[in-house]
């Protein structure tokens, strides 16, 4: 090994001949491969929805900008914080089970579900406020998109919550361990998808003008 190679290998162990990484990159994502095919299908559906919103707005800028001001942006921001927090809790639950810390994992999942329920409650208050003003799908093009897009996402949150509940119950029963947590990773991946979609939805519908 030359002096230059030696210096490089001291700085970067991966550059050493025969180096085997303790965390080799995997070919497949965490959890069941089937959930990832489902996630891609869901992302595609949301992507089409987002594109339709943006293109429709392009032809109705004044209406969309005016109607956007009638939304509760603070509720949208609170819900973003709640979804991110739920996702973080679920990621911490997976990290804990990888270390065989079942009780901690169960607790993180519970906090994740509490944050997700918080999202549901805030969203229901938001819908109630709009419905009490007589706003519905037929009010105008903006509200047709707002109600259908956010409700489509809301249904995914409810499904994600049900999945997290099932994962939490199985964790409580000792169904996951450091050696076997494939099911938890599958549920977690779905939940993170729900969060990822909202990361686009919030600025698009509530903020950008």
């Amino acid at each position: 090994m030359s002096a230059a190679e030696l210096q490089l290998s001291e700085k970067n162990p991966a550059a050493r001949p025969g180096f085997v990484s303790p965390h080799p990159a995997s070919l497949y994502p965490p959890g069941d491969l089937a959930i990832w095919v489902f996630i891609l299908a869901e992302l595609l559906a949301f992507g089409i929805f987002f594109a339709a919103y943006a293109i429709t707005r392009m032809h109705n800028v004044a209406l969309f900008d005016e109607m956007q001001l009638t939304l509760d942006r603070r509720a949208g921001a609170i819900n973003t914080v709640l979804l991110i927090t739920a996702s973080w809790c679920v990621a911490r639950a997976v990290a804990a089970i990888k270390r065989d810390r079942t009780v901690a994992s169960q607790r993180w999942l519970l906090w994740g579900m509490i944050a997700a329920v918080g999202f549901v409650v805030v969203k229901l208050f938001e819908y109630k406020a709009k419905l009490s003003l007589g706003i519905n799908l037929a009010t105008n093009t903006f509200y047709m998109f707002y109600l259908s897009l956010t409700f489509f996402h809301f249904m995914h949150v409810l499904l994600g919550l049900a999945i997290l509940g099932a994962v939490w119950l199985k964790t409580r029963q000792g169904g996951y361990s450091a050696a076997d947590h494939h099911g938890m990773e599958t549920g977690a991946s779905y939940w993170h998808m729900v969060d990822l979609v909202w990361i686009v939805l919030f600025p698009l519908v509530y903020v950008m003008r």
Partner: protein
């Protein structure tokens, strides 16, 4: 340590959300604001995919599909908004 890393990204995502909300509250509008807000969304989305979904440790195909979806959608939104503002 994995837990500390996740905590860091949670905090960074919250800060990103606060900045997005503040931009909305300040009445920021137009192409520069749109590009700024979409850039924040792109960074937040990449963090979620890589750190929370665990795609950081996965070879290129799956991270490419998820992050590729995110960037394609955000680029399309940016184009529609730019066209709408002219």
């Amino acid at each position: 340590m994995e837990a500390r890393r996740l905590d860091f990204y949670w905090l960074a995502l919250i800060v990103g959300t606060a900045v997005t909300w503040a931009l909305g509250e300040s009445g920021a509008a137009g192409p520069a604001a749109v590009l700024g807000i979409l850039s924040i969304a792109a960074v937040k989305g990449i963090w979620i995919a890589r750190e929370f979904m665990g795609l950081r440790r996965i070879k290129v195909l799956w991270p490419g599909l998820v992050i590729g979806w995110l960037l394609a959608v955000l680029a399309l939104i940016a184009l529609a908004y730019m066209k709408g503002s002219t």
